[in-house]
């Protein structure tokens, strides 16, 4: 079980919930278990490019991307990049 934290607009799209405890083996599985998974990926299953995903404070790309295991991880945070405007 790993906790996934979403912010702002994603929480608004999930009836206000900001934290989800999900069963998952990889980062990708954890994200796809969210009720807002469709706002994170395009139709190819690629993460939208303006999203950052941190696993216990480390960019998921540095851990191997969506295939990175989450065993032992405490928390995944999904954060929109600062993109101006």
């Amino acid at each position: 079980m790993v906790g996934v934290i979403v912010t702002g607009m994603l929480a608004a799209q999930a009836e206000g919930r900001r934290r989800f405890d999900v069963e998952a083996e990889t980062v990708g599985e954890a994200l796809r278990a969210l009720p807002v998974w469709d706002l994170l990926f395009n139709e190819r299953g690629e993460l939208h490019r303006h999203l950052n995903v941190y696993v216990d404070g480390t960019d998921h790309r540095e851990r191997g991307g969506l295939q990175a295991p989450v065993a032992g991880a405490r928390e995944i945070r999904v954060v929109a990049m600062v993109s101006g405007g």
Binding site: A12, D38, L39, L40, N42, E43, L51, A80, S83, G85
Partner: protein, 359 residues
């Protein structure tokens, strides 16, 4: 159904959806919103068949979707299964225009989207299937996306011919189907595309808005990148109309009078290079003779303005006209051709639709 108390305007903005309720005389308006806070609402409609609200909602980070509400905008549900097949090599960029299906197909809707694609839903907007005839059109290699991308922004159904429909796609042209959307033929004859090597080629034109007249469906009007056009033969040929009174042929919005097929309205901009009011004067131009002559309607509009009105940001009903600017002002036409600014300082207005409001 309760008698209409006035008009409900759905204003899609870059930061969400606003609902404005206007009294019968369209002079007093009450504002609700923003709904769908943070979403860029490229287009929103109230389905005339059951009142469901649909919004083409887009976000820089979270992508493109369609949201729908059956409780007047209090709660929303996102569509599932909206995307392009892998073999196309394309991915959905934006949702642009939602068109209700025919009255006899109450669960059918159409969705125009970028890059130059059309979807159909048969389940009230829960899921969407891409139209293969447009996606795999043999001329697609000759479509060149412009500065605004390649949006399918106009979807028009012929009310008298069940299998006939039209789409308008920027940098691709106007296409007609006579077989319910299976196959599409380009209908761009005499329409200029000055940015192409052959300015009168089969495809590659840039319609900005396409409307069919509901009472004379063989008549189509088109505000194009290069001029205002009319067709009286289902799009088979077009006549250019922007001489005789229009300060510019360039613009985006287009409005009609449902009672009079000879009347149309446009809001010219200076040029393709200068997207603001022609002559620094915000004006709606009207023709009452099928485009032979045009006259400015400026009463109530600011005398100095460098405004832009986007392609979806105008609407009409049997009584009036409505439009919103990128500067966040919304105008409605009242008696004696007087415009009233119903609200200002909204986020940039991307779309306007209106429907009767009965409380």
């Amino acid at each position: 159904m309760a008698p209409a108390l006035g008009v409900l305007a759905l204003l899609g903005t870059s930061k969400g959806l606003f609902l404005l309720r206007g009294d019968d005389d369209r002079r007093r308006w009450r504002t609700e919103g923003p709904l769908l806070v943070g979403w860029g609402v490229y287009h929103a409609i109230a389905d005339p068949r059951d009142g469901t609200l649909y919004a083409a909602a887009n976000h820089l980070v979270y992508g493109a979707t369609v949201q729908r509400s059956t409780d007047g905008g209090q709660t929303w549900r996102r569509s599932k299964q909206i995307g392009l097949p892998e073999e196309s090599g394309l991915t959905l960029n934006a949702t642009w225009h939602i068109e209700p299906g025919r009255p006899e197909d109450p669960a059918t809707l159409y969705l125009g989207a970028a890059p130059g694609v059309l979807f159909r839903s048969g389940d009230g907007g829960e899921t969407w299937d891409v139209n293969r005839g447009i996606l795999e059109h043999p001329t697609r290699a000759g479509w060149f996306p412009g500065a605004g991308g390649m949006s399918c922004h106009s979807v028009q159904l012929d009310p008298r011919a069940r299998d006939r429909m039209y789409v308008g796609i920027t940098a691709a042209g106007v296409f007609r189907s006579d077989d319910g959307g299976e196959t599409w033929i380009p209908v761009n004859k005499n329409v200029e595309a000055d940015f192409l090597a052959d300015p009168y080629s089969e495809v590659g034109q840039c319609p900005h808005k396409l409307l069919l007249h509901p009472a004379r469906p063989e008549r189509l009007w088109q505000q194009n990148h290069f001029g205002v056009y009319r067709s009286d033969d289902h799009g088979d040929s077009w006549v250019r109309l922007d001489g005789n009174g229009l300060p510019s042929g360039f613009g985006f919005p287009l409005m009609l009078d449902p009672k009079d097929p000879d009347t149309a309205f446009v809001i010219p901009e200076r040029s393709a290079e200068y997207h603001y009011s022609a002559g620094g004067r915000l004006a709606v131009y009207r023709t009452r003779d099928a485009g032979d002559t045009w006259e400015a309607m400026t009463d109530g509009l600011p005398e100095q303005a460098w405004a832009a009105v986007l392609r979806e940001a105008s609407a009409f009903d049997s009584d009036s006209l409505y439009f919103g600017t990128q500067g966040g002002s919304f105008f409605a036409l009242t008696e004696s051709d007087m415009w009233v600014e119903a609200i200002r300082h909204l986020p940039p207005i991307l779309s306007v639709e209106v429907t009767p409001w009965s409380g």
